[in-house]
Amino acid sequence: MSPEERAFQERVDRGEKIEPKEWMPEGYRKTLIRQMGQHAHSEIVGQLPEGNWITRAPTLERKAILLAKVQDEAGHGLYLYSAAETLGVSRDELMEKLHSGAMKYSSIFNYPTLTWADMGAVGWLVDGAAIMNQVPLQRTSYGPYSRAMIRICKEESFHQRQGYAIMMKMAQGTPEQKEMAQDALNRFWYPSLMMFGPSDKDSVHSAQSMAWKIKMNTNDELRQKFVDETVPQAKYLGLTVPDETLKWNEERGHYDFAEPDWDEFFEVIKGNGPCNEERLGARREAWDKGAWFRDGLTAYAEKAAARRAASNVAAE
């Protein structure tokens, strides 16, 4: 470790925040860009599965709540891209990497939303898992990232409660609604567990990321915490978690549970999930079809600047 690196690590260890202009190891910067970019991409791709039900929301109130949520997600994307930009990478560069497939987004968004109950399940489970990941990141070592996380976490926990409220309505509703609620849980349970990533035993970057406080907990820790919190919630809803092996382990003080199908996980990552093509296709199309719009704004800004300059000259 070079003296600079040592000093850097000591600052991190002391819980100091690293700020944009300060020295940081290249690996730290790169890992952060990857992680924050991926997180930002997830927010904007994450608009799609929920956007899918906005036009079909069953009441005006639910429609408004869902719109507000999707708007928040786009907002989170904006915070995160801005935070990533402090590391010297532009939003357009990151977008380009999303569209080319060079950067990923959370694979959960490659699953379809098939019934209204999925709006509940996504809020409850997917946002729930996201919060589990994000809460510790409020204490992450990189200042802008930490501050973005603080803002985001506040909104996410609101989203999760709204999702749970939808599930409650569905689980206590008509037999058809209850069936949809159970089906949504069946479909989203394992993909939600996958959101924490493979077991740390198989994760290469984890140790370094944890030392840098880019990652605050192991994947398995967070997954266990998620299961421990979610199972009682499911019981309260009167729904059955689709895992026959699920059992409270008195000794461990945790639930024992089945691992998700990691083959499926890697298939989805590779692009073979149910909606990979739709999701990335939708984003690419939005970007391509929006080119004239972005170009138009840029051209106007340039003209306006030129006009201002000219009138300044004239005024002199």
């Binding site: 904007i44 608009q47 799609l48 956007g51 906005i54 036009t55 079909r56 929301a57 069953p58 009441t59 005006l60 109130e61 639910r62 429609k63 408004a64 719109l67 507000a68 999707v70 708007q71 786009a74 907002g75 994307g77 904006l78 891209y81 939003r91 209204w116 939808i166 309505k169 569905m170 509703g173 008509t174 058809e176 609604q177 939708a282 984003r283 199309e285 939005a286 970007w287 079809k289 929006g290 080119a291 004239w292 719009f293 972005r294 170009d295 138009g296 704004l297 840029t298 051209a299 106007y300 800004a301 003209k303």
Partner: protein, 250 residues
């Protein structure tokens, strides 16, 4: 009173259908800021819908709710302008449609803050704050894109030509408009026209766009329940859950 109910449905349905159309963009905007702004605009409009249709349901006094009005009327009973149900097209069409409506909406709500009905005045005041921002944003974008690249200019001009013939309906008065105007609930729509024309004229000029020569009132009837073929598809989608699971609670 029937006139008041019908008029409130017109207000609520305009917000609902335009909000629906704009919400179709969610996640598909040309740039992240637009995704946010479009979702926000749709959200505002759905909020207005809740207020207008809520009051409409009260005035009707038949035990229907705002949701019943939104989700259980078929197209013939919808009272929105044809303008707001037009398909989104590209962002140019979406924006131009919104701008032309915003400019009207702003004048209308401004006048409504002085409505003889305190409830109407109250809703209008709330909505006006948001709609002022809608108008600011949409006119700004119309200017920038109209005076942007050759392509953005051409698209904005094409969009203007496309929707222009639907704008006259905003100012076309019928017996219902007359009745609410007489009761002091709402202004005479024709009184708003010069203000709208001025705003639109100024913005289009700054945007270097040409006001179309075609009639601006070629298409009407939406307010009386005679819509375009598009509305039926909007409603089929929007109302599916309420129709498929009658009586369920969400």
């Amino acid at each position: 009173k029937t006139a008041f109910f019908d008029w409130l449905c017109r207000m609520g349905d305009n917000s609902l259908i335009l909000g629906h159309r704009i919400s179709e963009w969610c996640g598909h905007g040309p740039v992240l800021e637009e995704d946010i702004a479009l979702a926000n605009t749709a959200l505002d409009l759905i909020g207005h819908t809740q207020m207008w249709l809520g009051l409409a349901a009260e005035v009707e006094g038949a035990g229907r709710s705002a949701d019943d009005l939104a989700f259980l009327r078929d197209a013939m009973k919808f009272r929105n302008l044809k303008l707001v149900e037009l398909p989104n097209g590209d962002m140019a069409v979406t924006l131009m449609r919104e701008f032309l409506f915003d400019a009207f909406h702003f004048e209308l709500l401004t006048a409504l803050t002085k409505s003889s009905s305190p409830r109407v005045a109250e809703i209008a005041a709330k909505a006006l704050k948001e709609v002022s921002y809608h108008l600011e944003r949409s006119s700004d974008l119309v200017v920038r894109l109209g005076d942007g690249t050759e392509e953005s200019h051409a698209r904005m001009q094409a969009a203007l030509n496309k929707v222009w013939g639907y704008t006259g309906e905003m100012f076309a008065e019928d017996a219902i408009d007359d009745a609410v105007a007489e009761a002091g609930i709402a202004p005479a729509l024709s009184d708003l026209l010069p203000f709208w024309q001025r705003t639109v004229g100024e913005v289009l000029e700054e945007a270097t766009l040409r006001q179309p020569e075609q009639r601006f009132d070629a298409h009407s009837g939406g307010k009386q329940g005679r819509h375009t073929e598009h509305l039926g598809y909007i409603l089929a989608e929007m109302q599916f859950l309420q129709r498929a699971y009658p009586g369920a609670s969400w």
